[in-house]
């Protein structure tokens, strides 16, 4: 969120070698600082589970579906179409993943999920772009249709299959897992030593090299792909111009309808892939209603991430981490309170240095409250752990939302030939 960059209508800023180096240096510092913080919390609280290999893997797998939905949101909204139908497109993807994987294996299943998601995207595009319907109305309708269609199709097609039922399909072949023999073992050993910072970093490496689904790598690749296409190519510039000022784009000869269509269909494809992750990686098969609101959470992650791929990735990771956390041990959840308190107090200091008294007091008050909660309690009720990402989102938005900026023409109706 710290990188609030340029209006889309302006050319991309000239990135001189020194500026780029300065940026990556800052990023490195930030990552190291965060690692040190997490490590300190782990050592102080003694809750090694907060960043164990298992926890990180669970978090990554929980993150991916949300992140894919969020990326889908970035695509659509950058072209000016609010896609609240992500949930519906994702759920269509779950059915596509299950059906095509059952008959043709996981790779065709991937295409199937993307296709079904794309169908959802096309529906949304027809309604919003061609007919100029309110984007929210179309999205809500799409979510209803998606949920109904998948429940119906599951009952109609999975009932008589092996491992199938009217609401499920299990025993599907999953995409392969990545195992890097030497590095994986070395990192795991190092992670078990519980050394300050070194073990925490090793745990991250170990999580990525010990039988982790290849889909995690693919999703990470898609984040970079989205960032590259939307911000580094002419195509991306044109697409974003449709979200900022479609009339201006039209006068420059951009086929706005076409770009909006492409954006919304890609958005559906990403959401559909999110459904694929849910069916084949996060759980052991298809169940009706599997998305459980993750499309909406993805939408929130996208807004939280300031309509940018890496921002969305950060926000989705937070949701995924806390989501994975609640299923693990209670000590770790308790230690999370300390982490939140520490983060808030760091923000307090940062705000104070900027001379922003009012917000600093706010941060400090909430931070102290979390610290007190940590010190005065022994464990957090299991239900509350599941609530963390939502409360955290509200807190972060409430305490620092002023720097978010959505595409200027996002959600506004556009008709061809009305420019100037």
């Amino acid at each position: 969120m710290s990188t609030v960059v340029p209006e889309a209508t302006m050319p991309p800023p000239p990135s001189t070698p020194t500026a780029a180096a300065g940026r990556s240096y800052r990023w490195l510092l930030l990552v190291l600082g965060f690692l040190a913080l997490v490590s300190s919390v782990r050592v102080v609280s003694g809750a090694n589970e907060i960043d164990s290999v298992g926890t990180i893997q669970a978090a990554l797998i929980a993150t991916c579906p949300i992140l894919l939905a969020a990326l889908g949101g970035v695509w659509a909204e950058r072209a000016g179409i609010v896609n609240i139908g992500l949930e519906g497109q994702m759920i269509l993807g779950t059915w596509g993943a299950a059906y095509f994987t059952y008959y043709y294996g996981p790779w065709v299943g991937l295409i199937g999920a993307a296709l079904l998601g794309a169908v959802g995207g096309i529906l949304h595009a027809i309604a919003t772009v061609t007919f100029g319907v309110d984007h929210i109305v179309s999205g809500v309708a799409l979510n209803i249709i998606g949920a109904g269609a998948v429940a119906f199709l599951a009952e109609a097609y999975f009932r008589d299959l092996d491992g199938g039922g009217i609401k499920q399909l299990t025993g599907l072949e999953t995409p392969p897992k990545v195992d890097i023999p030497w590095l994986g073992e070395a990192a795991s050993d190092l992670a078990d030593k519980h050394w300050f910072m070194i073990s925490d970093f090793a745990a991250l490496i170990a999580a990525l090299t010990n039988s982790i689904s290849i889909m995690v790598y693919i999703v990470a690749g898609l984040v970079f792909f989205t960032a590259w296409v939307l911000w580094k190519t002419t195509f991306g510039l044109r697409l974003r111009s449709c979200g900022e000022n479609p009339q201006a784009a039209e006068t420059l000869g951009v086929n706005v309808y076409l770009f909006k269509y492409v954006a919304v269909i890609v958005s559906g494809v990403f959401a559909g892939l999110g459904g694929y992750m849910l069916v084949l990686v996060s759980s052991s098969g298809f169940v009706t209603g599997q998305t459980g609101g993750r499309g909406y959470i993805g939408l929130a992650a996208m807004i939280f991430g300031n309509w940018r791929p890496f921002g969305a990735a950060g926000a989705a990771t937070m949701f995924g981490y806390t989501d994975a956390m609640q299923l693990r041990n209670a000590d770790a959840v308790h230690a999370l309170l300390l982490l939140v308190a520490a983060l808030l107090l760091i923000f307090t200091v940062l705000r104070l240095r900027k001379g922003d008294r009012k917000n600093a007091v706010l941060f400090a008050a909430v931070g102290v409250a979390f610290l007190a909660w940590f010190l005065l309690s022994d464990e957090v009720p299991r239900e509350f752990a599941g609530m963390t990402p939502y409360v955290a989102t509200l807190l972060v938005l409430a305490l620092g939302t002023q720097r978010l900026r959505m595409p200027a023409a996002d959600g506004k109706p556009y008709r061809k030939g009305e420019a100037g």
């Binding site: 007919f131 109305v137 809500v140 249709i145 109904g148 239900e383 409360v391």
Partner: protein
């Protein structure tokens, strides 16, 4: 004449949408190996007495939910949080009524007030965040929905009384249960008296929006916020008050069911009405009377579809496809009509002689 034509179009659009969506659903059923004719004949057969009662009851709940959403929509506020608001309110109302601080009817009124207050407060959080910190109500209400599910789940599991495998709140004392109206025999059930809340809410909705200054400000803000602010509307205050009203109506949603038949908050709680309400409000174009028809339509489809599995082996959920397509088709139909009218108007203006033009100019 144009007025008649307008009414005809207003009626034709939803009817065409319904026909279209039934056609699409039939096609889907036929392709996937079911029988479309069974689907249609079940849907259009006269409902049994029990179903008629259910339809009446469900209409009142859906209508309240749709009104709650519509208040926000009229001001361009997207309150997706109706789901969470009525859940919190239902729990609080059931808790209050079950505790029986007050006797008889007073207890009912007290519980309704508590439910309205809690619903409004839960929406108020989103309002406060929006007004003071500029947080979009879309995202905050999504978060608040999830939080509401967790909190009510936690409270029930921790403080609820045990009943079999599940937990629930204390049942409402008999003196505070509201008897319903029994139109048929006992087996068919009762129409909930508190369903009248929906009528009261609907009439108040219409009066406040169309006959008061507040309603005018609200509609004006919805149509052009900058214009409203320029004419002296305090948009922050309007946002806050509108969300409070929306949440307050949401608080009432489950009350007819609570006092009419459920009598406690537990496994009988009916989730998902908040999302249905959004669709129904959009279908009814956020106007009090059309929403009532839309609510009736959704309740009818929901109840009739329950027979599909048993009688024709078709999944109940297929009705959601129908409902979703109706919503989508109606808005598309209205958009097409709007464009058609716009073009017709432009043609008329182009053909009409300019006022004040001399005869030579016109003939020239």
């Amino acid at each position: 004449m144009t007025r008649l034509r307008n009414i005809a179009i207003a009626l034709a659009a939803p009817l065409l949408a319904i026909v279209f969506s039934l056609a699409v659903t039939s096609l889907v059923i036929q392709i996937s190996g079911g029988s479309a004719s069974d689907f249609i004949s079940i849907l259009f057969s006269w409902p049994a007495d029990r179903l008629l009662v259910n339809i009446a009851n469900q209409t009142s709940l859906i209508y309240l939910s749709a009104l709650a959403a519509a208040v926000g929509f009229r001001m361009n506020l997207f309150n997706i949080g109706v789901e969470g608001q009525y859940r919190m309110a239902a729990y609080a109302g059931a808790l209050f009524a079950g505790a029986a601080f007050l006797p008889g009817a007073l207890n009912v009124i007290g519980a309704l007030l508590v439910a309205v207050a809690v619903g409004a407060a839960w929406a108020g959080i989103a309002g406060l965040l929006r007004v003071t910190r500029g947080v979009s109500e879309v995202i905050s209400t999504i978060m608040l929905n999830a939080i509401a599910i967790t909190i009510t789940g936690y409270l029930i599991n921790t403080y609820g009384i045990k009943a079999g495998d599940s937990r629930r709140t204390e049942a409402i004392p008999e003196s505070s249960q509201v008897p319903g109206w029994q139109p048929f025999d006992k087996a068919a059930g009762e129409v909930w008296t508190l369903g009248l809340l929906a009528v009261i809410a609907g009439v108040s909705f219409w009066l406040v929006l169309n006959k008061t200054r507040f309603g005018f400000d609200l509609r004006a803000t919805g149509q052009s916020e900058s214009a409203a602010i320029a004419s002296g509307v305090n948009s922050k205050k309007m946002t806050m008050v509108t969300l409070l009203i929306s949440g307050g109506i949401a608080g009432l949603i489950w009350m007819p069911s609570l006092f009419g038949s459920a009598h406690y908050y537990g496994t009988t709680f009916q989730a998902g009405l908040g999302f249905t309400g959004i669709a129904v409000a959009l279908l009814g174009r956020n106007r009090a009377l059309p929403i009532a028809f839309a609510a009736l339509l959704f309740a009818y489809l929901n109840e009739q579809s329950n027979r599909l599995t048993i009688e024709a082996g078709i999944s109940v959920e297929v009705i959601q496809i129908t409902q979703g397509i109706i919503v989508l088709a109606v808005v598309i139909a209205y958009e097409l009509v709007r464009r058609y009218r716009l073009r017709a108007e432009e043609r008329e203006v182009a053909q009409a002689p300019r006022p004040g033009a001399t005869t030579e100019e016109v003939s020239a």
